[in-house]
């Protein structure tokens, strides 16, 4: 088995120390850091599939996220040193909506989206509609992600989508909402394009949107 395969396997098996050890070894051996990042994407994909099949749970995604983050942090200085950057598949502006300050779910999505090759602009928690609007104007993202745990988040999401519409930006972005109490009814009420309470499914929806955009 190649080191690349071994690393992907260690990540998927959530073997933190082994995965990080292999990543370090590969960098020391002078391997292309972009290849390592590509492996992170592959590992994240497999983990996402396992989550969708019900084999993995949130706690597994949290651990996986920690490993992916740990390895990216080792790789990043090397990329800088070499002056290379990774090809971005799309741009995502994400935040926990106004009134809600929970971020476990959002943080998982941020890590998984970065691993999938998205450039992520994380607005943090308790983000007012206007800040989403400003971030869209400033960063021109392909996708806006809104997260929230509390039931009140559903109403906040609606107000945010309305604000985006009022600013005339609704056609410029796809909107996905996510969180423990989000469902199809909430999605219709909010006026989003998709909903999920599954981070990896969310990533797949976003990747599909990016594919469609290319066509």
């Amino acid at each position: 088995m190649s080191l690349s395969e071994e690393m992907v396997r260690a990540i998927v098996e959530l073997d933190e120390s082994r995965a990080i050890e292999i990543a370090k070894k590969r960098l020391e051996a002078g391997e292309d850091p972009l290849k390592i990042l590509d492996d992170l994407r592959r590992a994240a994909e497999i983990i996402g599939e396992k989550y969708e099949r019900g084999e993995y749970f949130v706690s597994d995604l949290v651990m996986a996220g920690e490993i992916l983050k740990g390895i990216s942090e080792i790789v990043r200085p090397k990329l800088k040193e070499l002056g290379v950057s990774r090809k971005v598949v799309g741009k995502l502006v994400i935040g926990t909506v106004e009134g809600d300050i929970h971020d476990i779910g959002k943080n998982i999505v941020v890590t998984m989206a970065e691993a999938a090759g998205f450039e992520v602009i994380d607005l943090g928690v308790d983000v007012p509609p206007q800040r989403f609007v400003e971030a869209i104007k400033q960063h021109n993202p392909d996708i806006v992600g809104m997260s929230g745990l509390l039931t009140l988040a559903i109403d906040s999401m609606k107000r945010t989508v309305d604000a985006i519409k009022e600013a005339g930006l609704r056609d410029k972005v796809k909107i996905i909402i996510g969180g423990g109490r989000v469902d199809q009814h909430a999605c219709e009420y909010v006026g989003a394009d998709a909903w999920t309470n599954d981070a990896s499914q969310g990533i797949r929806i976003m990747l599909k949107w990016m594919e469609e955009k290319k066509r």
Binding site: F57, I104, H185
Partner: protein
């Protein structure tokens, strides 16, 4: 136009509250005993957010008489069979900290607005304080224990919480031994008495309005205690992989103080122990069966063998762990289920567990009253037979964004279709 069922029911609340109270109490107990009551009971549970329909939340949470007004407004507008209001934030850590002071421990089990002002705790955030005035309080927890400190928690949980956690998590307890520290503890004790008096008054008011109080005490899942108050859920989820043995020893060590708190109210006639779960649906069955369930199971069975049934809020989708519930003695208590297919849950647990749930906040916000009526009719048709079912929207909150007409449609539908066939 003929009267809606809800109007007739409200009229009976006004005319004969004593009889209504008796009916509701019997209805609830029948369901808990896994039988079919005269009608499917409807349960409303709120942490106060729904009061934003009429009141400024910053006022409701910080003024106990406003809180009473808000509760009265809610129950007289949207009546239910079982009504639970806990307009205060998760604070079980304080109950454990004061487990040896039985007069205070159960009262500080929830952190009220005034208690938050006294403690300046970082676990919770409040409207008109850290949050905008119209928002509900939020429990955010946080990381107040370092991973390498498990050994101290294991050695003596209560001491560790007092000496290390409270000073870190509460600004006004940050200097043990200082005058400020002593004043804060004294003020908290006085506030506990204030709140207890307010609760007694609220319960008496509710009783007069036709709403029976539940004889409740409180317990907790040991791993949630670690996730919610000490390590943050993310930290706890990483710890079970990075320090599995220490996590197990700590959850073991927490069982005793948790039960000590739960039994404080036993002499007052407590019949149900309220246990909200948080990490349950985030764990794989493998991790749940190893780190979460064995310890929670011991809490529940110990309570049961002491005559206290558990009232467990299964947050998220508990479906992957449903089978474990069957390990409990039949009639162990009530499971409130937030997500998952309630029909399948009921089917699996029928004759063993009283199942509560059935309609989600998103449905209640987005659907038309007609659709809600139709949905409730079908739900009752499927789930009422066999008994042991309580209809409840969501798990611990009623969203103020739910239109009044939809809440009325829900109540009307239960009254219209819920009677035993």
């Amino acid at each position: 136009m003929s009267k809606q069922p809800i109007e007739e029911w409200m009229e009976r609340h006004r005319k004969e509250p004593d009889i209504v109270v008796k009916e509701k109490a019997e209805r609830f107990l029948k369901a808990v005993e896994l039988k079919e009551p005269d009608r499917v009971p409807l349960m409303f549970f709120t942490c106060g957010h729904v009061f934003a329909k009429w009141f400024k939340l910053s006022e409701v949470y910080f003024n106990y008489s406003k809180m009473r007004d808000a509760i009265v407004k809610f129950v007289t507008t949207f009546p239910s069979d079982i009504f639970i209001a806990a307009p205060a934030a998760e604070g079980f850590v304080l109950a454990v900290a004061f487990a040896d002071v039985p007069q205070i421990a159960p009262v500080v089990r929830f952190i009220t607005g005034p208690m938050h002002d006294i403690l300046k705790d970082k676990w919770t955030r409040w409207p008109g304080r850290e949050l905008a005035e119209h928002l509900p309080f939020q429990f955010i927890g946080g990381e107040y224990m370092k991973p390498e400190e498990y050994k101290y928690l294991i050695e003596n949980p209560v001491e560790f919480i007092h000496n290390t956690i409270l000073p870190r998590a509460c600004e006004n307890l940050s200097k043990p031994g200082s005058a400020q520290h002593a004043h804060t503890i004294a003020k908290l004790a006085l506030e506990a008495i204030n709140y207890l008096n307010a609760l007694t008054e609220i319960n008496n008011t509710l009783l007069k309005l036709g709403f029976p109080p539940l004889a409740i005490t409180f317990a907790y899942a040991p791993l949630d205690f670690i996730g919610d108050f000490l390590r943050h859920p993310t930290g706890a989820m990483l710890d079970i992989r990075r320090r599995p043995d220490e996590v197990k020893q700590a959850t073991e060590a927490l069982i005793k103080p948790i039960l000590q708190v739960a039994f404080i109210l036993k002499p007052t006639g407590a019949k149900f122990a309220f246990i909200p779960l948080h990490l349950n649906s985030m764990l794989s069955p493998k991790l749940y069966d190893e780190f979460y369930w064995p310890y929670l199971k011991r809490v529940i069975t110990e309570l049961y063998s002491n005559g206290i049934k558990s009232f467990v809020l299964f947050e998220g989708d508990h479906t992957p762990h449903l089978d474990t519930i069957l390990e409990l003695p039949k009639g162990w208590g009530i499971g409130v289920f937030e997500r998952g297919d309630i029909r399948k849950i009921k089917e699996k647990l029928e004759g063993h567990t009283c199942v509560a749930g059935g309609i989600l906040p998103g449905q209640l916000i987005g659907w038309s009253p007609e659709k809600i009526e139709e949905y409730v009719r079908e739900l009752i048709k499927d789930l009422a037979p066999g008994g042991g079912f309580i209809l409840a929207p969501g798990i611990a909150e009623i969203d103020p964004a739910i239109p009044d007409a939809n809440l009325r449609a829900l109540i009307n539908a239960v009254l219209k279709y819920g009677a035993r066939k």
